[in-house]
Protein backbone atom coordinates (compact mmCIF):
# COMPACT_ATOMS: atom_id res chain seq x y z
CA UNK A 1 0.00 0.00 0.00
CA UNK A 2 2.84 2.34 0.93
CA UNK A 3 4.59 1.68 -2.37
CA UNK A 4 1.43 2.48 -4.33
CA UNK A 5 0.77 5.70 -2.41
CA UNK A 6 4.42 6.72 -2.95
CA UNK A 7 4.11 6.09 -6.69
CA UNK A 8 0.83 8.01 -6.75
CA UNK A 9 2.34 10.91 -4.81
CA UNK A 10 5.38 10.93 -7.10
CA UNK A 11 3.22 11.06 -10.24
CA UNK A 12 1.04 13.83 -8.78
CA UNK A 13 4.16 15.85 -7.97
CA UNK A 14 5.40 15.43 -11.55
CA UNK A 15 2.03 16.57 -12.88
CA UNK A 16 1.89 19.61 -10.58
CA UNK A 17 5.31 20.75 -11.82
CA UNK A 18 3.90 21.69 -15.19
CA UNK A 19 2.27 25.05 -14.60
CA UNK A 20 2.78 28.57 -15.88
CA UNK A 21 5.68 30.18 -13.96
CA UNK A 22 4.71 33.18 -11.82
CA UNK A 23 7.85 34.95 -13.03
CA UNK A 24 9.95 33.37 -15.78
CA UNK A 25 13.07 35.35 -14.82
CA UNK A 26 13.04 33.97 -11.27
CA UNK A 27 12.57 30.42 -12.54
CA UNK A 28 15.48 30.87 -14.96
CA UNK A 29 17.65 32.20 -12.12
CA UNK A 30 16.77 29.15 -10.02
CA UNK A 31 17.51 26.81 -12.95
CA UNK A 32 20.95 28.35 -13.42
CA UNK A 33 21.60 28.17 -9.68
CA UNK A 34 20.66 24.49 -9.56
CA UNK A 35 22.71 23.67 -12.67
CA UNK A 36 25.80 25.19 -11.07
CA UNK A 37 25.09 23.48 -7.74
CA UNK A 38 24.60 20.03 -9.29
CA UNK A 39 27.24 20.31 -12.03
CA UNK A 40 30.06 22.19 -10.34
CA UNK A 41 29.37 20.58 -6.98
CA UNK A 42 29.99 17.11 -8.41
CA UNK A 43 32.82 17.95 -10.80
CA UNK A 44 35.68 17.03 -8.46
CA UNK A 45 34.36 13.65 -7.34
CA UNK A 46 33.40 12.69 -10.92
CA UNK A 47 36.90 13.59 -12.19
CA UNK A 48 38.67 11.57 -9.50
CA UNK A 49 36.41 8.52 -9.86
CA UNK A 50 36.66 8.56 -13.67
CA UNK A 51 40.46 8.70 -13.84
CA UNK A 52 40.85 5.89 -11.33
CA UNK A 53 38.17 3.66 -12.83
CA UNK A 54 39.86 3.97 -16.25
CA UNK A 55 43.27 3.29 -14.72
CA UNK A 56 42.08 0.24 -12.77
CA UNK A 57 40.24 -1.02 -15.82
CA UNK A 58 43.46 -0.82 -17.92
CA UNK A 59 45.61 -2.58 -15.30
CA UNK A 60 43.09 -5.38 -14.72
CA UNK A 61 42.49 -5.93 -18.44
CA UNK A 62 46.23 -6.20 -19.00
CA UNK A 63 46.43 -8.68 -16.10
CA UNK A 64 43.77 -10.90 -17.68
CA UNK A 65 45.14 -10.73 -21.26
CA UNK A 66 47.98 -13.18 -20.79
CA UNK A 67 47.96 -14.64 -24.32
CA UNK A 68 50.76 -13.28 -26.55
CA UNK A 69 48.39 -13.83 -29.51
CA UNK A 70 46.21 -10.88 -28.43
CA UNK A 71 47.47 -7.46 -29.53
CA UNK A 72 48.09 -4.81 -26.84
CA UNK A 73 45.54 -2.57 -28.59
CA UNK A 74 42.84 -4.84 -27.14
CA UNK A 75 43.46 -3.29 -23.71
CA UNK A 76 42.50 0.16 -25.04
CA UNK A 77 39.40 -1.27 -26.74
CA UNK A 78 38.24 -2.99 -23.55
CA UNK A 79 38.85 0.14 -21.45
CA UNK A 80 37.03 2.33 -24.01
CA UNK A 81 33.97 0.10 -24.27
CA UNK A 82 33.59 -0.63 -20.55
CA UNK A 83 34.04 3.04 -19.67
CA UNK A 84 31.57 4.24 -22.32
CA UNK A 85 29.00 1.49 -21.90
CA UNK A 86 28.95 0.99 -18.17
CA UNK A 87 31.44 2.79 -15.96
CA UNK A 88 30.82 6.39 -17.04
CA UNK A 89 27.01 6.36 -17.15
CA UNK A 90 26.13 3.80 -14.49
CA UNK A 91 28.91 3.95 -11.92
CA UNK A 92 29.15 7.75 -12.06
CA UNK A 93 25.37 8.09 -11.76
CA UNK A 94 25.31 5.77 -8.75
CA UNK A 95 27.91 8.01 -7.13
CA UNK A 96 25.86 11.06 -8.16
CA UNK A 97 22.77 9.49 -6.60
CA UNK A 98 24.68 9.76 -3.33
CA UNK A 99 26.18 13.20 -3.90
CA UNK A 100 23.36 15.01 -5.71
CA UNK A 101 20.43 12.91 -4.43
CA UNK A 102 21.20 13.40 -0.75
CA UNK A 103 21.83 17.11 -1.35
CA UNK A 104 18.47 17.62 -3.09
CA UNK A 105 16.54 15.57 -0.51
CA UNK A 106 18.33 17.33 2.35
CA UNK A 107 17.76 20.81 0.93
CA UNK A 108 14.06 20.28 0.25
CA UNK A 109 13.59 18.40 3.53
CA UNK A 110 15.12 21.28 5.45
CA UNK A 111 12.92 23.76 3.60
CA UNK A 112 9.85 21.68 4.44
CA UNK A 113 10.72 21.27 8.14
CA UNK A 114 11.62 24.95 8.61
CA UNK A 115 8.35 25.99 6.90
CA UNK A 116 10.16 27.69 3.99
CA UNK A 117 8.01 25.70 1.54
CA UNK A 118 4.87 26.82 3.41
CA UNK A 119 6.12 30.42 3.23
CA UNK A 120 6.43 30.11 -0.57
CA UNK A 121 2.96 28.51 -0.81
CA UNK A 122 1.46 31.37 1.21
CA UNK A 123 2.99 33.83 -1.24
CA UNK A 124 1.03 32.05 -3.98
CA UNK A 125 4.00 30.30 -5.58
CA UNK A 126 3.66 26.79 -7.03
CA UNK A 127 6.46 25.26 -4.98
CA UNK A 128 6.55 22.07 -7.02
CA UNK A 129 7.36 23.93 -10.20
CA UNK A 130 9.57 26.58 -8.53
CA UNK A 131 11.61 24.21 -6.33
CA UNK A 132 11.44 20.80 -8.02
CA UNK A 133 11.37 21.54 -11.76
CA UNK A 134 14.65 23.54 -11.79
CA UNK A 135 16.37 20.71 -9.94
CA UNK A 136 15.19 18.12 -12.46
CA UNK A 137 16.03 20.34 -15.44
CA UNK A 138 19.38 21.26 -13.90
CA UNK A 139 20.20 17.56 -13.45
CA UNK A 140 19.10 16.81 -17.03
CA UNK A 141 21.47 19.51 -18.28
CA UNK A 142 24.52 18.80 -16.13
CA UNK A 143 24.55 15.06 -15.41
CA UNK A 144 24.90 14.02 -19.09
CA UNK A 145 27.73 16.56 -19.37
CA UNK A 146 29.38 15.00 -16.33
CA UNK A 147 28.98 11.56 -17.93
CA UNK A 148 30.70 12.79 -21.11
CA UNK A 149 33.50 14.19 -18.97
CA UNK A 150 33.71 10.85 -17.12
CA UNK A 151 34.07 9.02 -20.46
CA UNK A 152 36.95 11.26 -21.55
CA UNK A 153 38.73 11.17 -18.19
CA UNK A 154 38.16 7.41 -17.79
CA UNK A 155 39.73 6.66 -21.14
CA UNK A 156 42.57 9.07 -20.38
CA UNK A 157 43.03 7.42 -16.96
CA UNK A 158 43.46 4.07 -18.73
CA UNK A 159 46.11 5.59 -21.02
CA UNK A 160 47.89 7.15 -18.04
CA UNK A 161 47.98 3.86 -16.13
CA UNK A 162 49.05 1.95 -19.25
CA UNK A 163 51.99 4.23 -20.08
CA UNK A 164 53.11 4.98 -16.50
CA UNK A 165 52.93 1.30 -15.52
CA UNK A 166 54.78 0.18 -18.65
CA UNK A 167 51.82 -1.94 -19.80
CA UNK A 168 51.62 -0.46 -23.31
CA UNK A 169 52.95 2.61 -25.12
CA UNK A 170 50.68 5.63 -25.58
CA UNK A 171 50.63 5.30 -29.37
CA UNK A 172 49.44 1.69 -29.13
CA UNK A 173 46.70 2.74 -26.71
CA UNK A 174 45.58 5.56 -29.07
CA UNK A 175 45.56 3.15 -32.02
CA UNK A 176 43.46 0.69 -30.02
CA UNK A 177 40.94 3.40 -29.16
CA UNK A 178 40.18 3.91 -32.86
CA UNK A 179 39.78 0.21 -33.65
CA UNK A 180 36.24 -1.25 -33.94
CA UNK A 181 34.65 1.87 -32.49
CA UNK A 182 30.81 1.69 -32.43
CA UNK A 183 29.26 5.20 -32.24
CA UNK A 184 25.94 3.67 -31.10
CA UNK A 185 27.59 2.92 -27.74
CA UNK A 186 27.94 6.64 -27.07
CA UNK A 187 24.26 7.28 -27.87
CA UNK A 188 23.34 4.37 -25.63
CA UNK A 189 25.43 5.85 -22.81
CA UNK A 190 23.76 9.24 -23.29
CA UNK A 191 20.30 7.66 -23.16
CA UNK A 192 21.32 6.08 -19.87
CA UNK A 193 22.71 9.39 -18.57
CA UNK A 194 19.44 11.27 -19.25
CA UNK A 195 17.35 8.47 -17.72
CA UNK A 196 19.51 8.26 -14.60
CA UNK A 197 19.62 12.05 -14.24
CA UNK A 198 15.82 12.13 -14.21
CA UNK A 199 15.65 9.27 -11.69
CA UNK A 200 18.19 10.85 -9.31
CA UNK A 201 16.66 14.33 -9.31
CA UNK A 202 12.97 13.42 -9.30
CA UNK A 203 13.16 10.63 -6.72
CA UNK A 204 15.30 12.73 -4.36
CA UNK A 205 12.99 15.71 -4.81
CA UNK A 206 9.97 13.56 -4.00
CA UNK A 207 11.44 12.25 -0.75
CA UNK A 208 12.79 15.66 0.28
CA UNK A 209 9.59 17.55 -0.56
CA UNK A 210 7.44 15.18 1.47
CA UNK A 211 9.50 15.07 4.67
CA UNK A 212 7.36 15.16 7.81
CA UNK A 213 8.91 15.75 11.21
CA UNK A 214 12.34 17.07 12.09
CA UNK A 215 16.07 16.67 11.54
CA UNK A 216 15.98 12.89 11.98
CA UNK A 217 13.39 12.54 9.20
CA UNK A 218 15.51 14.68 6.87
CA UNK A 219 18.38 12.20 7.32
CA UNK A 220 16.03 9.27 6.76
CA UNK A 221 14.57 10.89 3.64
CA UNK A 222 18.08 11.44 2.21
CA UNK A 223 19.03 7.81 2.83
CA UNK A 224 15.77 6.51 1.34
CA UNK A 225 16.22 8.81 -1.67
CA UNK A 226 19.75 7.49 -2.34
CA UNK A 227 18.79 3.83 -1.90
CA UNK A 228 15.67 4.12 -4.09
CA UNK A 229 17.59 6.03 -6.77
CA UNK A 230 20.37 3.40 -6.85
CA UNK A 231 17.90 0.52 -7.17
CA UNK A 232 15.96 2.31 -9.91
CA UNK A 233 19.20 3.17 -11.76
CA UNK A 234 20.27 -0.49 -11.77
CA UNK A 235 16.81 -1.60 -12.88
CA UNK A 236 16.67 1.03 -15.63
CA UNK A 237 20.21 0.06 -16.68
CA UNK A 238 19.07 -3.50 -17.29
CA UNK A 239 15.88 -2.44 -19.11
CA UNK A 240 17.76 -0.02 -21.40
CA UNK A 241 20.48 -2.59 -22.17
CA UNK A 242 17.80 -5.15 -22.99
CA UNK A 243 15.88 -2.74 -25.23
CA UNK A 244 18.67 -0.90 -27.04
CA UNK A 245 21.59 -3.30 -27.36
Amino acid sequence: MNVFSSIGGYLLMMKAMFSKPENFKMYWKELMHQSVEIGMGSLGIVAVISIFMGAVSAVQTAYQLTSPMLPKETIAQVVRDTVILEFAPTLVCIVLAGVVGSKIAGELGNMRVSEQIDALEIMGINTKSYLVAPKILGALITIPLLVILAMVLGIYGGRLAGTLGGILPGETYDRGLLMNFVPKNVWFAMAKAYTFAFIISSVSSYYGYNVKGGALEIGRASTTAVITSCILILFADYVLAFLIL
Binding site: E22, N23, K25, M26, N110, S114, E115, Q116, D118, A119, E121, I122, M123, G124, I125
Partner: protein
Protein backbone atom coordinates in the same frame (compact mmCIF):
# COMPACT_ATOMS: atom_id res chain seq x y z
CA UNK B 1 -12.62 41.05 7.49
CA UNK B 2 -12.34 37.29 7.66
CA UNK B 3 -15.37 35.23 8.61
CA UNK B 4 -14.93 31.67 9.83
CA UNK B 5 -18.22 29.81 9.47
CA UNK B 6 -18.77 26.40 11.10
CA UNK B 7 -15.28 25.14 10.28
CA UNK B 8 -14.42 21.54 11.14
CA UNK B 9 -11.22 19.66 10.40
CA UNK B 10 -10.06 16.14 11.21
CA UNK B 11 -6.87 14.20 10.63
CA UNK B 12 -7.84 10.55 10.34
CA UNK B 13 -10.08 9.76 13.30
CA UNK B 14 -8.88 12.73 15.30
CA UNK B 15 -11.17 15.73 15.20
CA UNK B 16 -8.97 18.82 15.54
CA UNK B 17 -11.44 21.65 14.88
CA UNK B 18 -15.06 21.31 15.92
CA UNK B 19 -17.58 23.60 14.23
CA UNK B 20 -15.76 26.88 14.84
CA UNK B 21 -17.29 30.22 13.89
CA UNK B 22 -15.65 33.58 14.43
CA UNK B 23 -14.99 36.94 12.82
CA UNK B 24 -11.53 38.49 12.39
CA UNK B 25 -11.97 42.26 12.18
CA UNK B 26 -10.17 44.64 9.84
CA UNK B 27 -7.71 47.09 11.41
CA UNK B 28 -7.48 44.97 14.54
CA UNK B 29 -5.08 42.45 16.02
CA UNK B 30 -7.22 39.31 16.30
CA UNK B 31 -5.73 36.72 18.64
CA UNK B 32 -6.36 32.98 18.64
CA UNK B 33 -5.29 31.65 22.01
CA UNK B 34 -5.26 28.25 23.64
CA UNK B 35 -2.97 25.60 25.05
CA UNK B 36 -0.62 23.60 22.83
CA UNK B 37 -2.66 21.12 20.79
CA UNK B 38 -5.88 23.13 21.04
CA UNK B 39 -6.03 23.59 17.25
CA UNK B 40 -4.73 27.17 16.86
CA UNK B 41 -2.17 26.38 14.17
CA UNK B 42 -4.54 24.06 12.29
CA UNK B 43 -7.20 26.79 12.27
CA UNK B 44 -4.71 29.34 10.98
CA UNK B 45 -3.41 26.95 8.32
CA UNK B 46 -7.02 26.31 7.25
CA UNK B 47 -7.53 30.07 7.01
CA UNK B 48 -4.57 30.54 4.67
CA UNK B 49 -5.45 27.44 2.65
CA UNK B 50 -2.49 25.26 3.64
CA UNK B 51 -5.03 22.74 5.00
CA UNK B 52 -8.41 22.07 3.41
CA UNK B 53 -11.38 22.26 5.78
CA UNK B 54 -13.69 19.23 6.05
CA UNK B 55 -16.75 21.45 6.34
CA UNK B 56 -17.55 25.13 6.76
CA UNK B 57 -16.49 28.33 5.00
CA UNK B 58 -13.65 30.82 5.33
CA UNK B 59 -14.71 34.11 3.80
CA UNK B 60 -12.19 36.86 2.99
CA UNK B 61 -14.13 40.12 2.47
CA UNK B 62 -17.02 38.29 0.83
CA UNK B 63 -14.93 35.74 -1.11
CA UNK B 64 -15.11 32.16 0.10
CA UNK B 65 -11.69 30.50 0.15
CA UNK B 66 -13.16 27.00 0.19
CA UNK B 67 -14.89 27.42 -3.19
CA UNK B 68 -12.08 29.34 -4.93
CA UNK B 69 -10.27 27.96 -7.97
CA UNK B 70 -6.49 27.50 -7.81
CA UNK B 71 -5.98 30.75 -9.76
CA UNK B 72 -8.29 32.70 -7.42
CA UNK B 73 -6.42 31.29 -4.44
CA UNK B 74 -3.12 32.41 -5.97
CA UNK B 75 -4.50 35.92 -6.32
CA UNK B 76 -5.78 35.93 -2.74
CA UNK B 77 -2.48 34.66 -1.41
CA UNK B 78 -0.71 37.65 -2.88
CA UNK B 79 -2.80 39.73 -0.46
CA UNK B 80 -1.72 37.57 2.48
CA UNK B 81 1.45 37.98 4.50
CA UNK B 82 2.51 35.40 7.04
CA UNK B 83 5.02 35.35 9.85
CA UNK B 84 5.95 31.79 10.78
CA UNK B 85 6.83 30.44 14.21
CA UNK B 86 10.43 29.76 13.13
CA UNK B 87 10.49 32.83 10.83
CA UNK B 88 10.93 30.54 7.75
CA UNK B 89 13.54 32.81 6.18
CA UNK B 90 15.36 31.44 3.13
CA UNK B 91 18.77 30.36 4.49
CA UNK B 92 20.65 30.88 1.25
CA UNK B 93 19.50 34.50 0.88
CA UNK B 94 20.56 37.66 2.71
CA UNK B 95 18.09 39.74 4.72
CA UNK B 96 17.67 42.06 1.74
CA UNK B 97 17.12 39.19 -0.72
CA UNK B 98 14.58 37.59 1.64
CA UNK B 99 12.54 40.78 1.83
CA UNK B 100 12.93 41.51 -1.89
CA UNK B 101 11.86 37.99 -2.92
CA UNK B 102 8.07 38.65 -3.10
CA UNK B 103 8.76 41.84 -5.09
CA UNK B 104 11.02 39.95 -7.52
CA UNK B 105 8.40 37.25 -7.95
CA UNK B 106 5.25 39.34 -8.27
CA UNK B 107 6.18 42.81 -9.51
CA UNK B 108 7.85 44.16 -12.59
CA UNK B 109 9.25 47.16 -10.74
CA UNK B 110 12.72 48.45 -11.62
CA UNK B 111 15.47 47.40 -9.20
CA UNK B 112 15.78 50.91 -7.71
CA UNK B 113 12.08 50.99 -6.79
CA UNK B 114 12.28 47.50 -5.28
CA UNK B 115 15.29 48.50 -3.20
CA UNK B 116 13.53 51.63 -2.01
CA UNK B 117 10.59 49.54 -0.79
CA UNK B 118 12.91 46.95 0.82
CA UNK B 119 14.81 49.68 2.68
CA UNK B 120 11.54 51.30 3.75
CA UNK B 121 10.17 48.12 5.32
CA UNK B 122 13.50 47.22 6.90
CA UNK B 123 13.62 50.68 8.43
CA UNK B 124 10.02 50.24 9.61
CA UNK B 125 10.97 47.09 11.51
CA UNK B 126 14.13 48.76 12.88
CA UNK B 127 16.55 46.67 10.85
CA UNK B 128 18.31 49.40 8.91
CA UNK B 129 21.84 48.36 7.94
CA UNK B 130 21.33 44.60 8.14
CA UNK B 131 20.69 44.18 4.40
CA UNK B 132 23.72 42.02 3.64
CA UNK B 133 23.53 39.73 6.67
CA UNK B 134 22.40 36.10 6.35
CA UNK B 135 19.68 34.66 8.63
CA UNK B 136 22.33 32.61 10.45
CA UNK B 137 24.11 35.86 11.41
CA UNK B 138 21.18 37.56 13.15
CA UNK B 139 19.33 36.99 16.45
CA UNK B 140 15.93 35.33 16.89
CA UNK B 141 14.19 38.67 17.40
CA UNK B 142 15.80 40.10 14.28
CA UNK B 143 14.73 37.04 12.29
CA UNK B 144 11.14 37.65 13.38
CA UNK B 145 11.40 41.26 12.27
CA UNK B 146 12.82 40.20 8.88
CA UNK B 147 9.87 37.78 8.68
CA UNK B 148 7.48 40.68 9.36
CA UNK B 149 9.26 42.85 6.77
CA UNK B 150 8.94 40.09 4.15
CA UNK B 151 5.29 39.54 5.07
CA UNK B 152 4.34 43.22 4.63
CA UNK B 153 6.56 44.15 1.69
CA UNK B 154 3.71 43.64 -0.81
CA UNK B 155 1.33 45.65 1.43
CA UNK B 156 -1.00 42.71 2.15
CA UNK B 157 -4.60 43.09 3.32
CA UNK B 158 -4.28 40.16 5.71
CA UNK B 159 -1.41 39.35 8.06
CA UNK B 160 -1.12 35.98 9.82
CA UNK B 161 1.37 35.40 12.62
CA UNK B 162 1.95 31.95 14.09
CA UNK B 163 3.29 32.33 17.63
CA UNK B 164 5.38 35.41 16.85
CA UNK B 165 6.90 35.43 20.35
CA UNK B 166 7.98 31.82 20.66
CA UNK B 167 11.61 31.56 21.72
CA UNK B 168 11.94 35.28 22.45
CA UNK B 169 12.65 37.02 25.75
CA UNK B 170 9.77 39.06 27.25
CA UNK B 171 11.29 42.39 26.25
CA UNK B 172 11.81 41.41 22.61
CA UNK B 173 8.35 39.80 22.59
CA UNK B 174 6.86 43.12 23.57
CA UNK B 175 8.75 44.90 20.78
CA UNK B 176 7.43 42.38 18.22
CA UNK B 177 3.87 42.68 19.59
CA UNK B 178 3.94 46.45 19.41
CA UNK B 179 5.40 46.34 15.91
CA UNK B 180 2.66 44.01 14.65
CA UNK B 181 0.00 46.16 16.33
CA UNK B 182 1.36 49.39 14.85
CA UNK B 183 1.73 47.91 11.37
CA UNK B 184 -1.85 46.61 11.56
CA UNK B 185 -3.14 50.09 12.36
CA UNK B 186 -0.93 51.88 9.82
CA UNK B 187 -1.93 49.60 6.94
CA UNK B 188 -5.51 48.89 8.07
CA UNK B 189 -4.86 45.15 7.81
CA UNK B 190 -6.76 42.20 9.21
CA UNK B 191 -4.18 40.61 11.48
CA UNK B 192 -4.60 37.14 12.96
CA UNK B 193 -2.13 36.04 15.63
CA UNK B 194 -1.78 32.61 17.23
CA UNK B 195 -0.32 32.85 20.68
CA UNK B 196 -0.33 31.48 24.19
CA UNK B 197 1.64 34.39 25.55
CA UNK B 198 -0.50 36.21 28.10
CA UNK B 199 1.57 39.38 27.75
CA UNK B 200 0.55 39.53 24.07
CA UNK B 201 -3.06 38.89 25.01
CA UNK B 202 -3.09 41.81 27.42
CA UNK B 203 -0.99 44.12 25.20
CA UNK B 204 -2.61 43.72 21.79
CA UNK B 205 -5.65 41.44 22.16
CA UNK B 206 -8.33 43.61 20.58
CA UNK B 207 -10.36 40.57 19.56
CA UNK B 208 -9.61 37.25 21.23
CA UNK B 209 -10.79 33.76 20.34
CA UNK B 210 -10.05 31.08 22.92
CA UNK B 211 -9.88 27.49 21.67
CA UNK B 212 -10.18 24.51 23.96
CA UNK B 213 -9.69 21.01 22.52
CA UNK B 214 -10.64 22.28 19.05
CA UNK B 215 -13.80 24.10 20.17
CA UNK B 216 -14.45 27.81 20.50
CA UNK B 217 -14.74 28.27 24.23
CA UNK B 218 -14.73 32.04 24.60
CA UNK B 219 -14.57 35.23 22.56
CA UNK B 220 -13.93 38.79 23.73
CA UNK B 221 -11.32 41.52 24.19
CA UNK B 222 -8.33 41.95 26.49
CA UNK B 223 -10.50 44.13 28.66
CA UNK B 224 -13.06 41.34 29.12
CA UNK B 225 -10.62 38.49 29.63
CA UNK B 226 -9.53 39.19 33.19
CA UNK B 227 -13.08 39.41 34.46
CA UNK B 228 -14.39 36.48 32.44
CA UNK B 229 -16.32 33.74 34.19
CA UNK B 230 -15.27 30.90 31.89
CA UNK B 231 -13.61 28.23 34.04
CA UNK B 232 -11.48 26.74 31.25
CA UNK B 233 -10.25 30.13 30.10
CA UNK B 234 -9.41 31.09 33.66
CA UNK B 235 -7.46 27.86 34.05
CA UNK B 236 -5.51 28.86 30.93
CA UNK B 237 -4.83 32.50 31.72
CA UNK B 238 -4.12 31.95 35.41
CA UNK B 239 -2.07 28.81 34.82
CA UNK B 240 0.80 30.09 36.93
CA UNK B 241 0.44 30.21 40.72
CA UNK B 242 1.73 33.76 40.68
CA UNK B 243 -0.99 34.94 38.32
CA UNK B 244 -3.65 33.10 40.35
CA UNK B 245 -2.47 34.89 43.46
CA UNK B 246 -2.30 38.15 41.57
CA UNK B 247 -5.92 37.59 40.54
CA UNK B 248 -6.97 36.82 44.11
CA UNK B 249 -5.12 39.88 45.30
CA UNK B 250 -6.80 42.03 42.69
CA UNK B 251 -10.20 40.84 43.91
CA UNK B 252 -9.28 41.50 47.49
CA UNK B 253 -8.05 44.93 46.50
CA UNK B 254 -11.22 45.64 44.56
CA UNK B 255 -13.26 44.75 47.61
CA UNK B 256 -11.11 47.16 49.56
CA UNK B 257 -9.67 44.42 51.74
CA UNK B 258 -5.97 44.79 50.92
CA UNK B 259 -3.48 47.27 49.57
CA UNK B 260 -1.92 45.74 46.50
CA UNK B 261 1.43 47.53 46.54
CA UNK B 262 2.24 46.36 50.03
CA UNK B 263 1.25 42.75 49.35
CA UNK B 264 3.25 42.48 46.16
CA UNK B 265 6.45 42.72 48.22
CA UNK B 266 5.17 40.02 50.51
CA UNK B 267 4.28 37.69 47.61
CA UNK B 268 7.70 38.16 46.04
CA UNK B 269 9.31 37.37 49.38
CA UNK B 270 7.16 34.47 50.61
CA UNK B 271 5.57 33.06 47.46
CA UNK B 272 1.96 33.58 46.53
CA UNK B 273 0.70 30.12 47.47
CA UNK B 274 1.53 30.61 51.12
CA UNK B 275 0.19 34.14 51.40
CA UNK B 276 -1.79 34.74 54.56
CA UNK B 277 -3.58 38.03 54.79
CA UNK B 278 -3.05 39.47 58.25
CA UNK B 279 -4.57 42.54 59.76
CA UNK B 280 -1.40 44.45 58.88
CA UNK B 281 -1.97 43.80 55.20
CA UNK B 282 -5.45 45.20 55.21
CA UNK B 283 -6.07 48.72 54.07
CA UNK B 284 -6.00 51.32 56.78
Amino acid sequence: MIEIKNVSKSFGDKEILKNISAVMNTGMTNLIIGTSGSGKTVLQKCMVGLFEVDSGDIVFDGKDLTTMSEEERKELRQQIGMLFQGSALFDSMTVEENVKFPLDMFTKWPTAKKMERVNDVLERVNLKGTNKKYPSEISGGMKKRVGIARAIVLKPKYLFCDEPNSGLDPQTSMVIDKLIHEITKENEMTTVINTHDMNSVMEIGENILYLYHGKKEWEGTNKDIIFNKNEKLNEFIFASEFLKDAKDMRMLEEKGIIDNDRNMDKIMREGGANLVITDDDKKE
